[in-house]
């Protein structure tokens, strides 16, 4: 019981972090990592939020890389 509760709490925290990350990501980040998202509609940005909430570490990593390349 404690085991399952712990896993659930960790998962909830992970998803919460993803949801927080999703806000700046769909406003700014998407267009940085994928040129196809430049000037894309709000519908598109909303529809990827569930995925961003789950796969946010991949996207964060891409975003950091993309801005590093830009700066150098």
């Amino acid at each position: 019981m404690i085991f399952i509760t712990t896993i659930l709490i960790i998962m909830a925290l992970y998803l919460l972090a993803g949801l927080v990350f999703a806000i700046p990501f769909v406003i700014k980040g998407v267009a940085v990592i994928d040129e196809g998202a430049r000037g894309s509609s709000w519908g598109f940005r909303l529809i990827i939020i569930p995925g961003v909430t789950v796969f946010w570490p991949v996207l964060l990593n891409k975003w950091l890389h993309a801005s590093k390349i830009k700066r150098s």
């Binding site: 519908g43 598109f44 796969f55």
Partner: protein, 344 residues
């Protein structure tokens, strides 16, 4: 392709497809609920919701899994493939409704968190007859969830096609989990074997279709090309290739599509950059090779998608000698322009 993304890429054809899905689901639910009410007057509203959504989801899942092999066996089924992802998201929605109603009905009324309850209320993991089948359903639903949230092409590009494809291959694991979930669940609730028989019949159908499609593909790949000259292989007589269509040849594990366009032959890699669709099974529309799966386009002479798109596939050299087509299976870098071969 890579012009600006939209939320849902609707066009006329996809709209018709989606209306058909909606109509089908609505009719199914209506029929299921009326028949159940006639046969069993005591049925509760919750049970109706749980069972109508679950059986609809399983039905849709079978259709989804049958589309792939059906298209390999007969091109007539290609329109079904065109918008399969909407079918997938619809299936997930009904599965989610079923899972959600079940969790609410069986786990949300006590003091324990419903998700904890889902896993601890039944721990007979080593019993067949009392197995915690709901956990199996949960994991299947989790896979469908991951597939549904990554169904937009944005994810194909940003998780990389390889990761995306692997993730979506888990649909077969999810299917297996669903089969076990239904079989183990039904033996706990029902003594009518009809559910088990239907599910088994579905599984036999799907396995047969996959085996048939697989053996057809293997036969094509095994064709041997023995005549070779300066790196070119003889593949077929030129008149065998119809205008605006292609023939696919598999040489040294490279699948190559040889297209005929305005009395010339051009060869490009057969694998679409989108999701690996067989380009040689498509046709030329508006001067572009058009993928039969979701319509990505490539120019025959250089394998590039017309601007503003940026996809590119490899090209190959072809020549025609005395009405015979010779193909060089060594690829040029993606997007390299080739002269093609003129048919006399």
């Amino acid at each position: 392709m890579s012009a600006s993304y939209v939320a849902v890429g609707w066009n006329r054809q996809k709209k018709i497809y989606d209306w058909l899905i909606a109509g089908f689901c609505f009719t199914y639910l209506l029929l299921f609920i009326s028949v159940t009410l006639i046969v069993n007057e005591q049925v509760t509203f919750e049970t109706l919701l749980i069972r109508s959504t679950s059986t609809l989801a399983v039905l849709l899942l079978h259709v989804i899994l049958a589309i792939g092999p059906l298209c390999r066996l007969d091109k007539k089924f290609l329109p079904l493939l065109y918008n399969r992802r909407h079918l997938g998201v619809t299936m997930f929605t009904f599965a989610l409704a079923h899972g959600g109603f079940s969790i609410f009905q069986f786990h949300a009324l006590g003091n324990t968190n419903p998700f904890v309850s889902l896993f601890i209320s039944n721990t007979n993991f080593n019993s067949f007859a009392a197995f915690p089948f709901q956990a199996l359903g949960f994991f299947a639903l989790l896979i469908f969830f991951l597939m549904a949230i990554t169904s937009h092409d944005f994810w194909l590009h940003n998780l990389s096609p390889r990761v995306w494809k692997t993730l979506h291959m888990f649909v077969y694991l999810a299917y297996l989990l669903v089969v076990m979930h239904v079989m183990l669940g039904v033996i706990q609730y029902e003594n009518n074997p009809v559910f088990v028989i239907i599910i088994l019949a579905g599984a036999v159908t799907l396995i047969t279709l996959h085996l048939l499609a697989g053996s057809k593909e293997r036969k094509l790949d095994k064709r041997k090309f023995s005549l070779e000259q300066e790196g070119f292989m003889y593949v077929c007589p030129a008149e065998e290739i119809e205008d605006s269509r292609a023939k696919i040849f598999c040489i040294d594990k490279e699948r190559i599509a040889v297209y005929r366009h305005e009395n010339k032959l051009y060869a490009i890699h057969n694998v679409c950059k989108h999701q690996g669709g067989p380009l040689g099974e498509g046709k030329i529309l508006d001067g572009c090779i058009t993928c039969p799966w979701h319509g990505y386009q490539y120019l025959p002479h250089n394998g590039q998608s017309p601007p503003p798109f940026k996809e590119k596939v490899s090209t190959y050299d072809v020549k025609i000698i005395d009405g015979k087509v010779w193909l060089n299976p060594v690829p040029f870098p993606e997007g390299t322009e080739r002269p093609g071969a003129t048919i006399k």
